[in-house]
């Protein structure tokens, strides 16, 4: 009985702690959003952060997109061959990428490359008192540092997801049309006929915006909340990657359930 009680109280403690963290993190993000007018007044700050987040992730996004496309093309061809409809491989590759893999995989890659860098950057600025120094110069670090980083991440994500999908389609084309010899006309025309702008592309973009927001929010929060020591920053970076991955996968399930069930 007492064992049960201690377990219950531990569980309660954990729940309260996580709710508390969630509350603190939300307050933090709302504060960042409230101080965001600076990204409109000084767009060069935003561009610099998009450059930072986007360029960091670009190579890994291009390479992974290409490989994912190659694999999708191969697997799709082998499966469709059984039903004698290899011409539909273009559709399969495009839909998988635009609806799912583009937004999800690029968000996971973005979290591990740019998200971790954002957390580390903010954590180091905190550890070396750069944020304190800024406050003492009457410059608000929420506006000057954190808001541009947050919005830079949010806006780069859909662009990166689009590049990922485009590279994936090129990969699928290379393996099925160029290597295996599927008819090029069938590949493109079937793809064009079955990918719907609203239902597929727009929903894919919405997903990547949601993921970008989640990953950027987690990254800046973990950086700002990190314990200001070398060890604290490295732990925060790890938390960014793990929490972002879980958040992206969970959000993807919820969004997919709303977007792609029922209709069609």
């Amino acid at each position: 009985m007492t064992l049960f009680k201690t377990m219950l109280s531990k569980l309660g403690r954990k729940t309260i702690d996580s709710l508390w963290t969630l509350g603190v993190a939300s307050t933090f993000i709302f504060r960042v959003i409230a101080r965001s007018s600076i990204v409109i007044r000084r767009p060069n700050l935003l561009v610099a952060e998009m450059h930072f987040a986007g360029v960091l992730s670009l190579v890994i996004i291009i390479v992974s997109g290409l490989f994912v496309g190659l694999v999708l093309g191969l697997q799709g061809y082998e499966t469709l061959k059984r039903y004698g409809s290899t011409g539909a491989v273009g559709t399969l590759v495009a839909l998988s990428l635009v609806r799912e893999l583009g937004p999800v995989v690029s968000a996971l890659l973005f979290a591990s490359r740019a998200g971790s860098a954002i957390t580390a950057e903010i954590g180091i600025m905190k550890t070396t008192e750069q944020l304190s120094a800024m406050e003492m110069m009457a410059v608000d670090p929420y506006a000057r540092v954190i808001a541009p980083m947050f919005w830079g991440g949010v806006l780069s994500m859909p662009l990166l997801a689009a590049i990922f999908s485009a590279m994936g389609i090129i990969g699928g084309y290379l393996i099925t049309v160029v290597v295996i010899g599927v008819d090029s006309g069938a590949f493109w025309s079937q793809m064009q006929a079955s990918v719907d702008f609203h239902h597929d592309i727009l929903n894919g973009v919405i997903k990547s915006v949601v993921f970008g927001t989640a990953v950027s929010a987690i990254s800046v929060y973990e950086g700002y909340a990190s314990v200001p020591t070398a060890e604290g920053v490295s732990k925060a970076v790890t938390r960014t990657v793990v929490t972002s991955a879980l958040a992206v996968l969970a959000l993807d399930f919820v969004l997919t359930a709303f977007m792609f069930t029922g209709a069609h």
Binding site: T128, E129, Q130, A133, E135, M136, M137, A138, V139, D140
Partner: protein, 273 residues
């Protein structure tokens, strides 16, 4: 230990970080137009006093008054206006690592003024010249020695012509020559600009040479405040211990604990038998 003429007056102040109490009923003031040194052991709350003056932390009780305004009651905008009149030198410089020396010093000017680039350039070079580093303006912070970084940070701190300068341990980790240079800079800046300066230090020699007044912190209170020569003469055993750097005295060498005998493992097992 507050005088009515003090620019900064901290009165009956309690401050704690969470559970750990740093100050109980602290009363201290800093004279206008003078250089004051705050001295005290590690962890006695010296940095915390500077943060209280800058409004970065708020006391649980009491008041921090600066230029007859209550800092700990200020709202966001007032606080930022207050901070624009303060220059603070952080213990390790706190330079922005992604900006070069020139851009570090230009940062407060670009953020707080609408000056044209040419004016900013001349102002930055002027400030860098004052700390003797005009020639280093293109270097990145990673390429500077500790002493140089401190001087760049000083140039940045004076960029907006503050009327109050706060220095957190400006001498730690500096060789004797750099210490003398920094001490001189603090003195000359104070006198030529007619500002008020407060610095925190462990360095008895440097602080007694540079400061007009010394404040001694111990156990969350101010033990002594006075001119360096008065503190030298003081008969207070605590002041004596600090000034002469004695290992043991009113500030004990040992952290409070059980008796040594009780702590020893062999003695304990002996007692159990």
């Amino acid at each position: 230990m507050i005088k009515t003429t003090d620019l900064i007056q901290i009165s009956s102040l309690n401050f704690s970080y969470g559970e750990s109490e740093i100050f109980q009923n602290l009363d201290v003031g800093f004279s206008a137009g003078k250089v004051t040194a705050i001295m005290g052991g590690s962890g006695s709350g010296k940095t915390t006093i500077l943060k209280l003056i800058g409004g970065q932390v708020r006391p649980q009780k009491g008041r921090v008054i600066c230029d007859s305004k209550v800092v700990n009651h200020m709202r966001h905008n007032e606080l930022f206006a207050h901070r624009k009149t303060i220059g603070m030198l952080f213990q390790f410089g706190a330079l922005f690592t992604d900006l070069n020396v020139f851009e570090n010093v230009a940062f407060p000017l670009r953020e707080q003024t609408a000056l044209p680039d040419a004016a900013i350039k001349d102002l930055v070079l002027l400030k860098l010249h004052a700390v003797g580093l005009r020639g280093a303006s293109r270097l990145m912070p990673a390429e500077l020695s500790g002493g140089m970084a401190r001087r760049v940070a000083l140039a940045r701190a004076i960029a907006l012509d503050p009327s109050l300068m706060l220095y957190d341990e400006p001498f730690t980790g500096l060789d004797p020559i750099s210490t003398a240079i920094t001490g001189n800079l603090i003195r000359t800046l104070n006198d030529t600009l007619g500002i008020t300066s407060v610095f925190v230090t462990h360095d008895i020699k440097a602080s007694f040479k540079v400061a007009d007044e010394v404040v001694l912190l111990s156990r969350g209170c101010v033990t002594a405040r006075g001119k360096p020569e008065d503190l030298m003469e003081s008969t207070d055993p605590l002041v004596q211990q600090f000034v002469n750097g004695e290992v043991d005295g009113p500030v004990p060498f040992h952290v409070r604990s059980r008796s040594y005998r009780e702590d020893l493992a062999l003695v304990q097992s002996e007692n159990l038998k």
